[in-house]
Symmetry: C2
Subunit: 454 residues, 2 copies
């Protein structure tokens, strides 16, 4: 009996693309879960991807692009002609336009901007100038504001009047501004609901307004949102004029991205996300850039063995334990690195608090150093039948774990202080230092006890 083969979503998508009919493709994609959709699209050939984007209506393509990981979205849009790309980019919210264009090569982005509505293009260019992780980079410029002196009724009237335009906005708050555009107060939609129609908005608005500036950092924004239950914070420029709104969702997304990049960087993936759909050359080069930093660092730690080769030649069984000492210490140090990176991110620790880290790390380091040193030392003794070898291995392992855990706790503080990314640089530096110390301890002890090891 023939067995029916399960059809992958991208196979079905490919078939649908053969008759360039938008409707069934749309319906099929709508029926997929978000991640299934991203996966199905990523599995298509470049030609099929291009066909997909040009077959669907720009609004529908924009919906898809909005929900893809940023890198994947930029790769897709770059498949299109600037003209086609522009119609899609115009459908996105201002902050997403800026993010997407910022992910592209400068010339591709400029070609698309040249085809866009001049007003929108100017706005996207301005937003692109701001750091992606600042209020300027995270804000949207679609917001609704009124000058004070009008009533609730008038506000509702104007909202109805611009219903079509505002339908795309995410209205949680309306802003009340003075004649210069400086924010005076915030109107919450739920207050508008419950207020008498004749009430003046000046009475109803919440004040003072908590504002942020264009350069307010992601960390500060996160704190402001943590402290309050606001859905958005108004952003003002240097003249105190309301220029945009940062939504909680944009801040949450940016924090998530940051947390993911911390994980990837700690594992040696440099420069943001890598997807297996990226071109081979790009993936190999990006990975190599990090691996090649490790070559000289590894040479450095191996040089400790090279210098002490004579000792090792006389106690060859020590060579069995050198990798164990090095790996266990690396693991212990890595745990401390992670706790420090986490506490730094949460703001529970400042880069200057060296003493606190030392005091707090020495405790677990000593306990685990003694326990693991004893275990590894005992194994060395039992295996070799030489109590001195056991002692050397155990002592080197124990001391090196204490060094590694303490040094690992401090390393992210130092890196942060000198402007490096602790997630990216801690691993290679940690292993170099712990390897050097571990090898040095074991080989030095052995050199002094050579007579007992023969």
């Amino acid at each position: 009996m023939e067995q029916a083969r399960i059809e992958y979503p991208w196979e079905r998508l490919r078939q649908l693309l053969e008759n360039a009919d938008a409707r069934p493709i749309e319906e099929f994609l709508d029926g997929l879960q978000w991640s299934e959709r991203a996966r199905a699209i990523s599995r298509l050939s470049s030609e099929d991807q291009e066909r997909l984007l040009t077959t669907l209506a720009p609004r529908d393509v924009a919906d898809i692009v909005e929900n893809l990981p940023e890198g994947q979205a930029a790769d897709l849009i770059e498949l299109l002609s600037p003209q086609e790309a522009a119609t899609i980019v115009e459908e996105l919210a201002s902050d997403q336009q800026a993010d997407l264009l910022g992910q592209m090569e400068h010339t591709s982005a400029e070609a698309i901007l040249a085809q866009m509505d001049p007003g929108e293009a100017a706005e996207a260019r301005t937003l692109r100038e701001y750091k992606p992780s600042s209020a300027g980079g995270l804000m949207i410029t679609e917001f609704v504001s009124f000058t004070e002196g009008i009533s609730v009724q008038e506000v509702l009237h104007r909202l109805r009047l611009h219903g079509a335009e505002y339908a795309e906005y995410d209205i949680q708050y309306l802003y009340v501004v003075d004649a210069h555009g400086c924010p005076m107060g915030v109107l919450r939609t739920r207050d508008l609901l419950l207020a008498p129609a004749s009430k003046g908005i000046a009475e109803l608005m919440v004040r003072p307004v908590r504002t942020v500036t264009l350069s307010t950092s992601l960390q500060d924004l996160a704190h402001q949102f943590e402290e309050s239950s606001f859905y958005g914070l108004p952003v003002v420029n240097e003249r105190d004029v309301l220029v945009g709104v940062v939504n909680r969702r944009a801040v949450d997304d940016a924090l998530m991205q940051q947390s993911e990049n911390t994980f990837l960087a700690s594992q040696g993936i440099v420069g943001g996300e890598e997807f297996r759909t990226h071109p081979l050359g790009v993936r190999a080069r990006r990975r190599l850039s990090w691996l090649s930093v490790n070559v000289p660092l590894n040479m450095l730690s191996a040089s400790v063995i090279a210098v002490n080769q004579e000792t090792l030649g006389k106690v060859i069984s020590l060579a069995v334990f050198l990798p164990i000492i090095s790996d266990m210490s690396g693991c212990a140090g890595q745990q401390s690195v992670a706790v420090s990176i986490r506490e730094l991110t949460l703001g529970l620790l400042k880069p200057a608090e060296i003493l606190r880290v030392v005091v707090k790390e020495v405790g677990p380091a000593v306990i685990n150093g003694i326990l693991l040193g004893a275990v590894v030392g005992a194994v060395a003794w039992l295996w070799s039948g030489n109590v001195y070898l056991g002692g050397i291995v155990g002592a080197a392992q124990g001391i090196n774990i204490i060094i590694a855990a303490t040094f690992g706790g401090l390393l992210p503080l130092a890196l942060k202080r000198f402007g490096f990314d602790p997630a990216l640089s801690s691993g290679p530096i940690l292993t170099t230092v712990t390897d050097m110390c571990g090898f040095l301890l074991a080989l030095t002890f052995a050199a002094h006890l050579l007579v007992h090891l023969a």
Copy 2:
């Protein structure tokens, strides 16, 4: 000249605590940024923390507790008597009550529940039963619903009537239910704003309602929120009755937590966050639990050297390069592990897609294996003056990087398939396998070319 010392926030807080006056303490804490506040409280002694919690009003303590990392919050509340703790826990939203109580020892949680309002306690007990990462665990039970057949005016009237109670709710949507409590439609506050007062809510409500069940997973919830711009999704029980609402914010927070735990687990921090404020014994034990798994794994890889000790004794200069081969391969494998974990999380990759990973990993693996093998081999040749040693080291390094990068890409798929956490288990298994292979390759090659290496 005497230099003024900068006062730390916790020092000021300690002074303020000496006169048990709530007002100045409150004002001082309000003036601190969120992270500064968390840090200041974490630096107090247990006695001072207890004094702080009992001096402030329960509502203010609840505000503080809400914004602390979960683990820290539970530790704080456990300092109080069950009676005192209950008054604070009652001020929290239902999902936060459940999360907080879930973080505590069972007996402490029960003692607090016994002191709470029986209705609230029953609700918290029920919520605690759901998996924290399911819709049941993430939902709040504070929502507003109406049976159909009433007008916009009537809704506004009832909202005004219960204004005090609803003020604490986060009203984005109101739900319309039938006589059994099954959801019929959703009323958006902004539609209520713009609708004529006489309109029936049945006409105004959005339908069909997209609901989730108590057991809907975090991953599914994330997809639903990605696909839509909803702020909340109604949760129904097995009889289709509306029992709660999952807010976007709760899902975002849970995803953030998950992403952070991935990072921590990959660095060997087991069982969620570790803070340096945790007791020494707990920290040492948790770290040890992961380190001790590495001991037998390390023994396993070292056994390859032990078996080939004789070869190594004859070519002692190879001992200099074994750690380099092992570390570089480990790094290359780790990069592939990270990309796979990330793609699995995003749903871009399924655990069964082994072939795809192999095909996609072999490319960068071969390029980087050849390049790095050539570099490390050349160094070995130049340093030893022996071209055979250079060849052995280079070949072992190159081949092992190819093995490590490919195996690293597959490992998370296999672990996931068999129900293990890839973030936690990939590292130790990867290094064991890459070490064994690397040592075996280098020592086997050397054994065959011994005559040329003397």
